[in-house]
Point group: D2
Chain length 338, copies 4
């Protein structure tokens, strides 16, 4: 259920609606919009009586939301979600490049990367301190020491940090060290983790699961939002199919239907989507053209020496060329490189 | 095996190589290039002796081709294949729009469509006279009467015709009526049909099978080329996966590896790839950005009354807007709208 | 639409119904059953008036068929279809083993195989004279000479022949030489071919396409049946998925829903379904347990020297052991080895 | 690396090898076998020097393990793993039925179910106290109160409890209340959770991820085993494909290759694998025939009133009939119903 307030509704009227919702044992989600505030309601098991709200002062109307996801749906919030960072805004009219190595390998390479990114106008650094590796014997990331290095890179260069959280145990530390908390593919339906980041005050970048339908993905976003964290960025990274020419099958076709169903921004990860450095630039341009709000791309000072995912990492000149190309092209798609 | 001639090789030297190849019971494929001619050899079951050719006058070198597809591979032919039509060229530096209804429904609508296409600068009309339908009870196309209508549209407007051949029985008639012979998804591995169009003198547009790997697809192209018809255009139209937000999963990620492995042009069919009209424009732009050489797009004067595939057909204003957008954007990708 | 006759209906009453159906421009399909005859109607584009038939003498009722496939559906025919051969019956209460090499390689090996099969009680020989090969340069089968060899094996041993038809051009020859005409995976939606075998007087074994849904498959069977050939055997042979431990993903779970939706027999091909000889026996037993009516299994006198599919072919002792195991187990599943 | 001891090796010799392994900074895994003890080594990043161990007294040989999974591989342990419970043994020569409702709904139904299971000879009860639900608004399970109910059912009837752990936070409680800790499909690559149950003293039932390859799955088992918990049971439950006749595509074909690669027992979940009650019995029989060591099957006293997964739950008479059928058939496959 969505309660839409009149455009001139007073704060006290909004507060009154919130109170009535709580009085019913339900959860209110206040969503200020450009011209009016809407209040989402979750927590009901059956139908909620619309009349209960429509009689309250300042209420324009109460609308049933037909989708299984509520807070994530465009029915609930018509306008595209923007997420503001000191470094820039993610969402409509911008195109955000998030770049960096697969994993934090050591302080020098992270600082060097952060400085390079800033020099070419990239404002978001990605790098994993905790790494989900298929093998228990593979490098598992530097852990909390990696978080310290990321924090230092931020402090030193002002770059925003995107890093993965794999375990509720480290939620506070990752929240502290990062500007965006990444939830990886393999954890897209780790519901305990989703609930935990729903409590965090940092935006969440939610990668699509390897075999997640669009509905599954939006429901996973809903888990985060139901906890009160409405700043979710979706990230397509390829799905698993029989098709063997690339590491995953990058499903760019998910972008238009996702945009129709949800107001959340959507990024693309062309590095995991292709698995091969040489294919990353064209898939990045295609992402922009398909309507994505940004890309998450792997870049490494020396890809051939990377501890993980070297084959799909751009080197610095390659990244620079791609960023320049995107900066030139973005205006043709109504966007500016963030 | 590929025999590369010296750049100054005389025609008589080329003819001598061809003769020697035939003398071995093998098949020569003469492929003139920008600076030199190469002669592909197929038909061998074991290894061929390189020395046999390298001693001949005018021969630069003989190279083993490592891929299972030979004539389709970039090893055999380094330069992108261009296909020249009176209406324009398909291949590098152009972006070709092929548009029209799913099926030929009647003469009036085909003529009306052809005229509209010409008026907006689209030079290729697609429409099926023979329709591969899942149900034996569904409209199967107008058949040879449909071919007559298409021929009339070409005669009347000068537009080039792309139409599907489903059955070797009608090969001559379709070849006669069309400028490009389309092989549909369900027939990508109908080897009898592929061999038959290998005998045709018209270019072949080969749609990717629903579960074809890139290798399967290139091998299907090889079937056509092995018969002596080297003018093959690949067409990605989505593959079958669990992903249910669209009719098929459009695999734009196949474009860069296809471009690396083959010299053949590659088109995208965003209509079948999405199944929904509203998603066609952004997937068309993404195709251009991903490196495709053209699109095959369904358009209908009255999509809601279409006898098949109405939901994924653009109406005329929608098509016009898309073509204008593509014409504006193409130069940024080094292409001109053909 | 299905017209169900009364159990005591006279032949003249049935003939009268057939006449009325034809008079409407529709196609009657007379289907004699254990206790009563039913007459399927196809060819209508809209709804057919039930009253037209229910007033005729001998008619019990007229029933609308809700599925897109009509003749293949259990709504149209409640009893399982049995197909009688001089060598035995395919269908309920029997379990049929069809065995033999991937391709006809020469006369000696086919005769040797046929004699071995007969000696262990296997009554159906499979072997391809025409082979659908991914590469145009691979062995394409012995063609009509292969058919001659198969005919000789039948004449010599009395074994029934199952062999593939790939091209309408050879339909009469394959029909002549075989007892069951096989349609391969890659041709499951080669609608011209399906229509052609709908005209044949021999049963058709229809392999499931690599990415065919159950509905697609039943619609393909319907193409054959709509032509008047009601003797269709479905054959599951694995579908294409990401799963890489076997050549294909054998979808044994399709058997119970197929049995619910159609009256046609269903076989399983554990050789293509696994791609590995060692896994064939357990998948054969699982097929029996899952409710299949038979298996199509590759066997070769010398698998390691096979011209195709050697890795998935059983040798003779392996086949013999499997057949004995199946013969012992079949009664526990209410079946006898045919 | 695997150090194989001589059959007469003394305990002190084994202890000495363990000590040397630890001295290298590596992890020893002592695996007693029928005739001799083997000691697996993990934790090395490069190659380990075999000579280091082969010179020690009581050592037969040191063998390199070529697979990426070590402890899970048959190279490391040739004999099938058996897991002994007071209620019976899981592994070769037995066939284990684990049955029960999707979720713990209330005490009465769980006790009633447990008593019924015991009455028909089923010794393992499955029921979720914590439920991974696609929607945050769906019933999430009774949580710790559910665990209390399960513990009571065990105390009352002596039945063994199989229940899911979703969150490291509840690991001790679930370990306490259960006899087997289930890891669900969506958490198959939740590596934090896998590491945590590697510390538990209870066997782990590891469901295959929806798009996990066999290698991915064995690597997930390896995560558990690397922590020192060697009692892992694999459970196939269907993978995600385009095939839409069932909830998931049950990949019974994974059983033979899994048996070839690993010594761990493998179960099948025909309830999730089909999604429909009517198809569960034949897929259960097929699992037995394919070589599975057991099934995990949903059963509910009143399936139509189930809070989750009612459509795929057997009712009690249905379960009883299935269990009797399996008990009759098992000996034909060299097994006894556990």
């Amino acid at each position: 259920m969505l309660v839409v307030m009149q455009s001139h509704a007073a704060d006290s009227e909004i507060a009154r609606v919130v109170e009535v919702i709580k009085g019913q044992g339900l959860t209110p989600h206040v969503m200020p919009g450009a011209t009016r505030t809407a209040i989402g309601i979750t927590g009901n098991t059956g139908a909620v009586n619309k009349a209960l709200f429509e009689v309250l002062p300042g209420v324009e109307e109460a609308i049933r939301v037909t989708k299984p996801y509520k807070l994530a749906s465009r029915e609930m919030k018509r306008d595209d979600t923007s997420i503001a960072f000191p470094q820039g805004t993610v969402g409509p009219r911008t195109f955000t490049v998030v770049a960096g190595p697969c994993s934090v390998e050591n302080e020098a390479m992270v600082l060097r990367t952060a400085e390079f990114l800033v020099s070419i106008g990239v404002k978001f650094l990605r790098a994993g301190a905790f790494k989900p590796r298929t093998s228990p014997y593979a490098f598992q990331g530097m852990g909390t020491e990696g978080l310290r290095i990321l924090a230092k890179a931020r402090e030193r260069t002002g770059i925003a940090i995107v890093t993965e959280l794999m375990d509720t145990e480290y939620a506070s530390e990752v929240e502290e060290a990062s500007d965006v908390i990444q939830i990886g593919t393999r954890n897209m339906q780790n519901f305990s983790l989703l609930k935990r980041v729903g409590q965090c005050r940092k935006p969440v970048l939610l990668k699509r699961g390897m075999s997640a339908t669009l509905d599954d993905w939006l429901m996973a976003a809903e888990y985060v939002m139901a906890g009160g964290n409405y700043q979710v960025v979706l990230c397509e990274r390829g799905v698993r199919t029989f098709s063997d020419h690339s590491r995953n099958t990058l499903d760019l076709g998910v972008i238009p239907p996702a945009k129709a169903l949800t107001h959340l921004p959507i990024f693309v990860d062309p590095s995991h989507g292709t698995g091969k450095r040489a294919y990353v630039p064209s898939m990045s341009l295609a992402s922009l053209a398909a309507g994505a709000d940004g890309i998450l791309v792997e870049a490494h000072p020396e890809p051939d020496k990377a501890m993980s995912d070297g084959a799909q990492s751009l080197d610095f000149p390659g990244l620079k060329a791609l960023v320049e190309r995107l900066r030139d092209l973005a205006p043709a798609f109504g966007r500016t490189l963030a």
